[in-house]
């Protein structure tokens, strides 16, 4: 016992051996903390879904004839409003840029029932807390003559598809 005590105290007073022991302690601690961190991260990786079950972002909405000039057709299931003026056609989002409610048609454009954001006919913010105008999505004419909307591609507001 006494010998052990003396030996260990001898080690403690010896700079090199103490630092080796401390180093091993640090390595052990770092290893355990790292493993814990990795486990936590992998839990988050696990609960982050790789596949989601949503609607397709790119879809067809019908023939140009379905939307005569002057139409402002809200397609709630698609989350867009199809606007047709003469030979020009566009798709404007109806998902409020504030907190994701679905905006409704109002006399002056669009109005959000959740927090009172208001937008004009082109989706520009005219009142309320919405931070950005309603985005416009890319509209193309598919070879089969149907209008195709791609919600993954936002375009400059005011740019129409010419028919």
């Amino acid at each position: 016992m006494a010998v052990n005590l003396k030996r260990s105290s001898g080690e403690d007073s010896d700079g090199g051996k103490t630092s080796r022991r401390r180093m091993l302690g640090w390595l052990t601690g770092a290893g355990l903390a790292g493993s814990a961190g990795l486990s936590a991260v992998s839990n988050f990786v696990f609960i982050k879904p790789r596949a989601t079950y949503g609607q397709p972002q790119r879809f067809s909405v019908g023939k140009p004839e379905d939307f005569p000039s002057g139409t402002r057709a809200i397609l709630p299931a698609r989350g867009i409003c199809i606007v047709r003026e003469g030979a020009k056609l566009a798709a404007i989002s109806i998902i409020c840029t504030h907190l994701g409610c679905t905006v409704g048609a109002a006399d002056t454009g669009f109005a959000c029932p959740c927090h009172g954001s208001r937008f004009d006919q082109d989706g520009n913010v005219t009142g309320g807390p919405a931070p950005r105008p309603l985005p416009w999505f890319q509209v193309t004419l598919a070879p089969n003559g149907e209008i195709e909307v791609d919600k993954d591609i936002e375009i400059v507001p005011g740019s129409y598809l010419s028919l």
Partner: protein, 427 residues
């Protein structure tokens, strides 16, 4: 004849003594009739040993605590019991959840009552936990050595809000759907990690089946487990921090100076000294100062039983009188107009209607940080244990300002907001 002869143990006496022996094997003590038995009952019973054997009279003053902490805990117990019962009939599926709500109403025995109790209990818990937080603030009880327990308490308050938030998606009605759509969008405004949190919460890009399942798991497993653990730490620390806070003058002033230690030295054997010569503080002066504590049995336990009965009765009466609302089933295409959150989030919704970031993240975040930091910023030890102490005029004024501002926002959101969140007058 040895004096230790055991009594004759016949099979018959074993049989006749069976109930008594079983009882005695479970309960180590008779119903207490003296102080020793009162102590040992508190000490040896699993459910009672979380209590101290003796409790300060100040902790039992209803006017001091208003029983708010206990009421919060009992509401949590009621919510766990009713929640587990409701789980027997609930399915977290977008096609079934709402029908199951109707089934609870129509074809499950006590279904309406249990859902009402769960709903009103949840509302009650949010309100009472907040009032408890106010009580602790106004009596200065967060001060040293209770700083960290205050932090645990603030976390418990946030967990309570999150519990309620995850709970109200589950009926899958219009309120549920749009409140969660808005709530997760608010989380999306958090800097840097906001969008990831939003995606993780919803399990996708919009509120649907994945979100319902996730909120269900959070509501019935993750959050109750975390909440239970935090409550255990909260209670444990109450004991370790010396019981409930009380004013300095709640105990008679005694000298904190130790008896002169040097005289207790073994080198001076003429006098003998006990502990009091060696330990610091007033502890050894037992019997010399008036004792301000009473035995937990029966004083504390009766107070707790009384609080529990009153809490349960109140929830029962509310649930018999008022039915928990259930709106139309989810229509993901048409938000109700106006789309309103439950009353305790209407202050937040009102603030969000000015600015999503500042109303939903900035201001609430600063408020929570201030709450968490309160005991570390206010280091004065004055004014503990007294409601609205004059020494705490500044701190109390700031706190009341925050509380009143929030109440005003809640009132505006509840009564003064109509279609499209436009300002309306309720009369």
């Amino acid at each position: 004849m040895s004096p230790a002869t055991p009594p004759k143990a016949s099979f018959l006496t074993a049989l006749t003594d069976l109930p008594k022996n079983v009882w005695k094997s479970i309960f180590r003590n008779p119903l207490p009739s003296n102080d020793l038995e009162r102590s040992s009952t508190s000490f040896t019973n699993f459910f009672l040993h979380i209590h101290p054997v003796k409790v300060h009279k100040n902790s039992l003053r209803p006017a001091y605590t208003l029983g708010l902490g206990l009421i919060s805990f009992f509401l949590f117990v009621i919510l766990i019991v009713t929640g587990i019962l409701l789980m027997f009939y609930y399915v977290p599926s977008t096609t079934q959840a709402y029908d199951r709500m109707l089934d609870l109403r129509g074809s499950v025995a006590f279904g309406t009552l249990l859902r009402n109790m769960h709903r009103w209990g949840a509302h009650g818990m949010v309100a009472v936990v907040f009032m408890h937080l106010c009580r602790v603030f106004f009596t200065g009880s967060y001060k040293k050595p209770r700083e960290f327990n205050w932090v645990v308490g603030v976390i418990l308050f946030l967990l309570t809000l999150f519990m309620s938030f995850t709970g109200y998606l589950l009926p899958w009605d219009q309120l549920a759907f749009w409140a969660i759509t808005v709530g997760t969008a608010i989380a999306g405004y958090a800097p840097v990690i906001g969008k990831d949190i939003q995606f993780l919460l919803m399990g996708g890009t919009s509120v649907g089946q994945e979100a319902l399942l996730r909120f269900y798991v959070l509501h019935v497993a993750v959050l109750p487990a975390v909440l239970t653990l935090a409550i255990a730490i909260h209670f444990w620390r109450i004991r370790k921090d010396g019981g409930l806070s009380r004013a300095e003058d709640a105990d008679p002033v005694v000298s904190l100076e130790a008896a002169p230690v040097e005289k207790a030295s073994v080198l001076e054997p003429k006098k003998t000294y006990g502990f009091q010569g060696l330990v610091r503080g007033p502890l050894p002066k037992v019997g010399q100062i008036p004792d301000n504590t009473v035995y937990s049995w029966p004083n504390l336990f009766l107070a707790e039983l009384f609080t529990f009965v009153v809490t349960l009765s109140a929830i029962l009466v509310l649930s018999l009188l008022f039915n928990a609302p259930l709106e139309e089933p989810v229509n993901a295409l048409h938000p109700p107009n106006p789309a309103k959150a439950p009353w305790y989030f209407l202050g937040l919704q009102e603030m969000v209607s000015y600015s999503a970031f500042w109303g939903g993240i900035g201001v609430p975040g600063i408020f929570v940080l201030l709450l968490l930091g309160t005991p570390y910023m206010d280091r004065s030890t004055k004014g503990v244990g007294k409601w609205f102490s004059r020494d705490r005029l500044l701190a109390n004024t700031i706190f009341i300002t925050f509380v009143v501002a929030n109440i005003i926002f809640v009132i505006i959101g509840t009564f003064f907001r109509g279609a499209n969140w436009a300002f309306v007058t309720p009369w």
